[in-house]
Amino acid sequence: MISLTINNKPYQLDIDPNTPLLWVLRDHLDLVGTKFGCGLAQCGACTVHLNGEAIRSCVTKVSRAEGQKVVTIEGLSDTGEHPVQKAWLELDVAQCGYCQTGQIMSAAVLLNQNKNPTDKDIDAAMSGNICRCGTYLRIREAIHLAAEIQQKNG
């Protein structure tokens, strides 16, 4: 039995502790907002927060999350109220949309740690997230906008 806290909800799971967190979320908990893109920590589609840090859930064993605080896109805000989600909607960033939950989760951590990131900061923080559709310019712009929204919200 593994005890997990995901999006502030407790879960008890009878599962191989080596299972990547990604597949626990997707297959066992029906939290499918976290995406599978590469399985190799190369694309960022599977990004979630582990104690406030952005991690690649495809290479993170579920045992590492035991007793820790995990937040997925569903927990960031299920209704899209987080400043990053709002900015994403305002600028209509997505094309296919498959990478975007991972992008949003990475961006949320960046903005938590750096209230007013420069383009350079953004490039550095976001280079682990591939967008095959090429929405990078809008992502950059949306992060600046999210920073503004965040500041206004205080």
Partner: protein, 753 residues
């Protein structure tokens, strides 16, 4: 157009399709725990929908639903196609509910995403459908109020009768309207009165995307569903010899391991039934990770397959093709291409006397361009859900053209098409890859064999190494100049594995008196298919680099040089069948010249490159600006000009052009799939470099030519000329011409590949 159905018919239709395991049935079971995500699947509401033309449903309490007919893979059709209907329906866009339509070519048209055709092919039918429904509602109101229809007007989904002061919403008249035959000649809006189309409307699924709601095939789930993965041969030209699954079967969660043949011998393939391997080793289990893990325990022996025969059916009759069995390597392929390039080839077009022109030339410029195979690398790997039982098949997942895949499924499963239900999910990218539905055949056969609902999933490695790639291309361009540096002859000879790239009737054909186009190809067992702007994505790199070099040799400005050629093609075209419009072609060059400040002193700091191209009925031009940062050339900004006729959804169209530019830069700099002894040398993103945030330009400014022409393609046309503009800008930045893609490794030789 189909007859309108009354609400009663609609109800019985719903019931019957639910019983047959139809599309709606699927929506009800689609991740039942997420029901709140889609209010559309509320059966009570579904019962009240009244159908007015096959794309539009309205409830008596005035909920308006528009069915999007075409699969969405990021090109925004889920929003822009319904916008076209809403425009003519004159409904309030804010209140409209958009739903992905079921696969039903009879009711919803051709339903394929490819060839940049979505908006182009649906423009007229959707306008007509919207206008017809509006007219039916107006007739119903006229009858109800007993006033002449001509005295009625609509605005934002409300019908007004000014004289009497009466007004009512569409819902009030929906029931009556549904009894009125669908008019064939409903009046369309005047373009100048558009108020939905030509605006910017937000992605109707944006909210679901940013909150991570289930949308994609990968997210699809059903009670009792098993996960299946396929172990493919390690190399093209290999096949399964034998396997020992005893260790795999001991692994937790594994339910089955078996060999599955995809197409039986002599199976007549359609044009989009391309498949990489026919003998599949299938592992089935309860969860994705368990299956992934257990796959590693397989003990498999593979063997060379030798030459094989593929049979193709279709309009031209039955055709047999021998697929060579050799294990191919990129180096050897390149050598072979060089050999073939110097041998006689098939003549594709000839104008004037090119031989004489080259014989009499004062100067001949000859350059050869090469490009590798490219993998599509859709962000969402290939996957599909299938549940096949005795008498029906239900499938759900990402697919660009269900109507092209259904005949294959029908033959494979021995089921008539009406017993096959394909539910289209949002796709995590497509780029042409998902036009090839072999993975539905695989999923269906696995479900049939295991007698269970299954979801077939490709790992990233599967997706990348068993692809249906952009072919490997080469082309040699030659230009003959006279003593006064006039262009008197032009020759393109293109070849490829396994097809040549030449579009013989494209620019600059038609602009040069003496012109020759030739093509040749080398058969291969490496599977190829459509990749965002097929062939054009190579031609625009080669031809547009060559024209740049030619302009320089002739002492001309590269934009002016192209405009001169286009002027010739317009005023005194050479030959027949020139497939482009010189005016529209010139208009994007002029627009990009203006918007980029092409010769402006303030832009001297940039190393600028320009290119333009025509494909999929649209025109695009880019100016790319490099600067040198820390000793390295970096793309700083891009100016784009596009003529695709009327732009339906302005901001989404801009997004798509920006994406095409980024995609083009990425593929031009880094894209390459190479092989050794038949095995792909790149199997995941650590070896196959995709452009990332830090390599994307700071700015991409997109401009559309303003005209009232019916819309043409947009997903593909802006992509090809990026390659040429990039090569030309790189020349300005480094003083060196680039002939071989990808260009990146030549800029920084220490880079991984």
């Amino acid at each position: 157009m189909t007859q309108a159905k009354s609400s009663i018919n609609r109800r019985s239709f719903l019931k019957s399709s639910a019983l047959a395991g139809g599309g709606l049935m699927l929506s009800f079971t689609w991740l039942s725990s997420f029901k709140e995500a889609g209010k559309l699947t509320d059966p009570e509401l579904a019962d009240k929908w009244i159908e007015l033309t096959s794309y539009i449903k309205i409830t008596p309490d005035n909920q308006i639903k528009i069915l999007n007919p075409n699969p969405e893979f990021g090109q925004n059709v889920m929003t822009s196609l319904p916008m076209i209907i809403a425009e003519e329906l004159d409904a309030d866009w804010q209140t409209i509910i958009v739903e992905m339509g079921p696969h039903d070519n009879m009711k919803l048209g051709p339903q394929f995403t490819g060839g940049s055709n979505s908006v182009r092919m649906y423009w007229k039918p959707l306008r007509e459908a919207g206008a017809a429904a509006r007219q039916m509602l107006l007739s119903a109101a006229a009858q109800t109020w007993n006033v002449p229809m001509e005295e009625l007007s609509t605005k934002d989904g409300i019908i007004h009768h000014v004289k009497s002061g009466k007004s009512g919403n569409y819902g009030q008249f929906a029931t009556k309207a549904a009894t009125i035959p669908v008019p064939k000649d409903a009046k369309l809006k005047e373009i100048k009165n558009f108020n939905v189309v030509r605006n910017s409307k937000k992605n109707v699924e944006g909210q679901k995307i940013v909150t991570g709601k289930p949308l994609f095939g990968m997210d699809y789930k059903q009670e009792g569903m098993l996960i299946a993965m396929i172990e493919h041969p390690p190399a093209f030209g290999m096949k399964l010899k034998s396997f020992d699954a005893s260790e795999t079967l001991k692994m937790p969660g594994i339910t089955d391991v078996f060999k599955q043949e995809l197409y039986p011998e002599d199976f007549e393939q359609g044009g989009f039934d391309t498949r990489t391997f026919n003998d599949l080793l299938v592992v089935v289990g309860k969860s994705t990770w368990e299956v992934m893990n257990a796959r590693k325990k397989l003990k498999v022996t593979w063997e060379p397959r030798g030459d094989a025969k593929d049979v193709f059916g279709g309009r031209g009759g039955k055709r047999e093709v021998i697929v060579p069995g050799a294990l191919e390597s990129t180096d050897a392929q390149r050598k072979k291409m060089q050999e073939l390039a110097s041998q006689p080839a098939q003549e594709l077009r000839k104008d004037g006397d090119p031989e004489a022109a080259f014989k009499n030339a004062a100067q001949i410029i000859e350059r050869t361009y090469n490009a590798p195979f490219l993998a599509h690398n859709c962000m969402e790997p290939m996957n599909f859900f299938a549940h096949v039982t005795e008498d029906k098949a239900v499938l759900a997942g990402p697919l660009q053209a269900p109507g092209w895949t259904e005949p294959m499924l029908s033959k494979l499963l021995g089921l008539p098409p009406e017993k096959i239900e394909i539910q289209m999910t949002r796709m995590g990218g497509g780029f042409g890859r998902r036009a090839y539905g072999h993975y539905l055949g695989e999923a269906a056969l696995i479900s049939k064999k295991t007698k269970a609902p299954i979801k077939l999933i490709y790992s990233r490695e599967d997706d990348m190494t068993y692809g249906i790639y952009r072919p490997m291309y080469t082309a040699t361009y030659r230009a003959a100049l006279d003593a006064n540096k006039n262009l008197i002859g032009f020759h393109v000879k293109g070849g490829g594995i396994p097809e040549h790239p030449v579009h013989a009737n494209r620019f600059p054909a038609g602009a040069i008196d003496n012109y020759l186009a030739e093509g040749w190809s080398i058969p291969s067992n490496i599977t190829i298919g459509a990749f965002r702007a097929p062939r054009s994505n190579f031609n625009a790199a080669a031809e547009q680099s060559f024209l740049d070099e030619l302009a320089e040799a002739m002492g001309k400005d590269p934009i002016d040089f192209r405009l001169e050629l286009l002027k010739r093609a317009k005023e005194n075209p050479v030959g027949k069948n020139n497939d482009y419009n010189p005016d529209r072609y010139a208009s994007v060059l002029q627009l990009v010249k203006e918007k980029s400040g092409w010769n402006g002193a303030e832009n001297k700091k940039y190393s600028r490159g320009v290119a333009a191209y025509f494909c999929h009925n649209s025109y695009a031009a880019h100016v790319i600006d490099f600067i040198i940062k820390d000793g390295k050339p970096v793309v700083e900004q891009v100016f784009s000009a596009v003529d695709c006729g009327i732009v339906v959804n302005l901001d989404a169209a801009t997004n798509m052009v920006q994406g095409a530019v980024v995609d083009g830069i990425g593929n031009a700099l880094y894209g390459a799939l190479t092989h050794k002894e038949g095995a792909a040398e790149q199997n995941n993103f650590h070896r196959y470099k995709i452009i990332r945030m830090n390599e994307a330009p700071q700015k991409i400014e997109v401009h559309f030519v303003q005209n009232d022409l019916d819309p043409t393609g947009l997903g593909e046309p802006p992509f090809p000329p990026v390659f040429g503009a990039l090569a030309n800008a790189l020349y300005k930045a480094t003083g060196k011409r680039y002939y071989d893609q990808p260009y990146g490794p030549q800029l920084n030789p220490r880079r991984a590949f």
